[in-house]
């Protein structure tokens, strides 16, 4: 009987410990976000670091976004064509491709690509800076790490994500055109006419809002995970610690993107 009491006791002790740990982590992440957003609006304002981060997060992601956008549009056209043909509605292919991309696939897949390319790099960079005392060095030099390190990343992430999503959408529409019109013989006029008739400002707005939120989420989670590397429960130091938090950041960012995608769709539809 006693062993059962001990086992149940240990279970609740662990449960309580886990709850407190995750509560503390959530609180820390909230304070981190507040401090980063405040640092964006606090002078001095320097354009150089923001441009450098936009180059890293935005420009250097362009190729992968173009590539994945094209293939997403192509597969959408391929699948859409054979489904619509059953109803004799091949002419709606352009509208189907554009709406799928603008509302859902564009922001979500572009964000997942940025998580893999830039989010992981940001987490690892900040984590290594934490490990090698570079963040402590900034604080000791009376340089605010939020202002110096985080603010340019947040601004660049929030500005780059809608632009990358727009590029993804455009590449997808062109990819869909290549497959639908050039390969499968859908009428060129119908492809664009139906798209023009079906897509309204709200569809574009939904994609824009999603991409802004996803941009914020990616930088927030990735930077925060690296910044608090030393407070990880499993011990965050060393190369293994950096690799562990980077994996955590990628997984958490990807999950957060899909959860927020549903929430934003539910709110905006």
């Amino acid at each position: 009987m006693m062993w059962m009491v001990h086992t149940v006791g240990r279970f609740f002790q662990k449960l309580g410990g886990d709850f407190l740990f995750y509560l503390e982590q959530a609180g820390r992440m909230g304070i981190f976000l507040g401090a980063c957003l405040l640092s964006i609006v606090r002078p001095p304002f320097k354009l150089g670091p923001i441009v450098r981060q936009m180059h890293f997060i935005g420009s250097r992601s362009t190729f992968v976004i173009l590539f994945t956008g094209s293939f997403t549009g192509m597969v959408l056209a391929l699948q859409g064509y054979y489904t619509l043909r059953k109803f004799g509605s091949e002419g709606l292919l352009g509208a189907a491709v554009a709406l799928s991309l603008l509302r859902e696939l564009g922001p979500v897949i572009a964000a997942l690509m940025v998580v893999g390319r830039a989010g992981s790099a940001i987490c690892a960079e900040v984590g290594i800076m934490r490990n090698s005392e570079q963040i402590d060095a900034l604080e000791c030099m009376a340089i605010d790490p939020y202002k110096y390190l985080m603010a340019p990343k947040f601004v660049a992430g929030i500005l780059s994500m809608p632009l990358l999503t727009a590029i993804f959408d455009m590449a997808g529409i062109v990819g869909g055109y290549l497959v639908g019109v050039s390969m499968l013989g859908v009428n060129k006029g119908a492809y664009f006419q139906q798209m023009y008739a079906s897509v309204v400002w709200n569809d574009v707005k939904m994609g824009l809002v999603k991409s802004l939120v996803f941009g914020l989420l990616i930088i927030w989670i990735s930077a925060c995970k690296g910044y608090f590397l030393h407070l990880e429960r499993s011990g965050g130091f060393g190369a293994e610690g950096v690799s562990r938090v980077t994996t955590d950041a990628v997984v958490l960012s990807s999950v957060a993107i899909l959860v927020w995608d549903y929430l934003l769709s539910a709110i905006m539809l």
């Binding site: 090698s132 005392e133 570079q134 402590d136 060095a137 604080e139 000791c140 030099m141 009376a142 340089i143 605010d144 110096y148």
Partner: protein, 266 residues
């Protein structure tokens, strides 16, 4: 080194700090007198770097006060702490240079971020500090292209570029051979004579580090023992200090202790 000043740059009063169940600092009391060099020695894992991090405001004590020029670091806002830290220069154990920046940019960073100084003035100031460290030709190199000793010198140049009132050294010679260590000590002595800063050095390098010290403090079992001149430290009758001195400098027999007093003033 001369013991010339009694004004306190830093005071630690009854500082306590635990990590989980382990109490690392138990009522630590220590003063750093302005314009002097205080060396904190002790075996690894006793909390030397923890004391340093409390002085820098990177850690807050569970109890007690950390006063920097009379202001309590533990009760300061971030803004106030930033002001106090403008008087600090730090040479970290692993130097903490920014790998993606050149040596010049590393040293120029505090000037660019904290002042409105023109690029011409920044260049003059940085070049002067690099020349002081015998690194005049190294400005365009990246930290990864430098030896351990050179990195330490760049770290020292960065620590001194804002003309700080207090400079902290966390194991300044760790990982360096004897000649490189001597080079760091020579530069320390040269720059302190020129810039007149107070220095706090955490080091293992006994007895060499005694040559630089005005005061030596031993951390043992979470408490500070000593904080006295190196001469008094080596002749102390405190059994813990005596055991530490014997362990690090070799056995000293009572009759030889006076004779054993071998080091010379720098």
């Amino acid at each position: 080194m001369t013991q010339k000043n009694t004004k306190f740059a830093i005071e630690l009063i009854d500082v306590e700090r635990s990590f989980g169940q382990q109490q690392v600092l138990k009522k630590v009391n220590l003063v750093v007198r302005e314009g002097t060099t205080t060396v904190i020695v002790g075996p690894s894992g006793q909390g030397k770097s923890v004391i340093l991090k409390h002085m820098l405001g990177l850690l807050k004590p569970d109890a007690g006060k950390v006063l920097v020029y009379g202001q309590d670091m533990a009760s300061m806002s971030k803004r106030q702490m930033k002001e106090v830290r403008k008087d600090f220069g730090v040479l970290f154990q692993n130097v903490a240079l920014f790998d993606s920046m050149t040596v010049f940019d590393n040293v120029a960073l505090p000037l660019r971020e904290r002042t409105d100084t023109s690029e011409t003035e920044i260049r003059d100031n940085v070049e002067e500090k690099l020349a002081l460290m015998d690194l005049a030709e190294m400005g365009a190199k990246y930290p990864a292209q430098l030896s351990g000793g050179m990195k330490k010198r760049v770290g020292l140049a960065r620590a001194l570029v804002m003309k700080p009132r207090i400079v902290f050294f966390d194991e300044p010679t760790t990982g360096l051979d004897v000649s490189k260590s001597n080079e760091i000590y020579r530069l320390f002595h040269k720059t302190q004579a020129k810039l007149k800063y107070s220095a706090v050095i955490v080091s293992h390098d006994v007895p060499k580090i005694f040559k630089l010290a005005d005061y030596v403090a031993l951390i043992h079992d979470g408490e500070i023992l000593g904080n006295m001149s190196p001469e008094q430290f080596q002749l102390s009758d405190n059994p813990v200090i005596r055991a530490f001195v014997e362990e690090t400098m070799g056995p000293i027999y009572s009759s030889e202790r006076e004779e054993r007093f071998f080091y010379e003033k720098v």
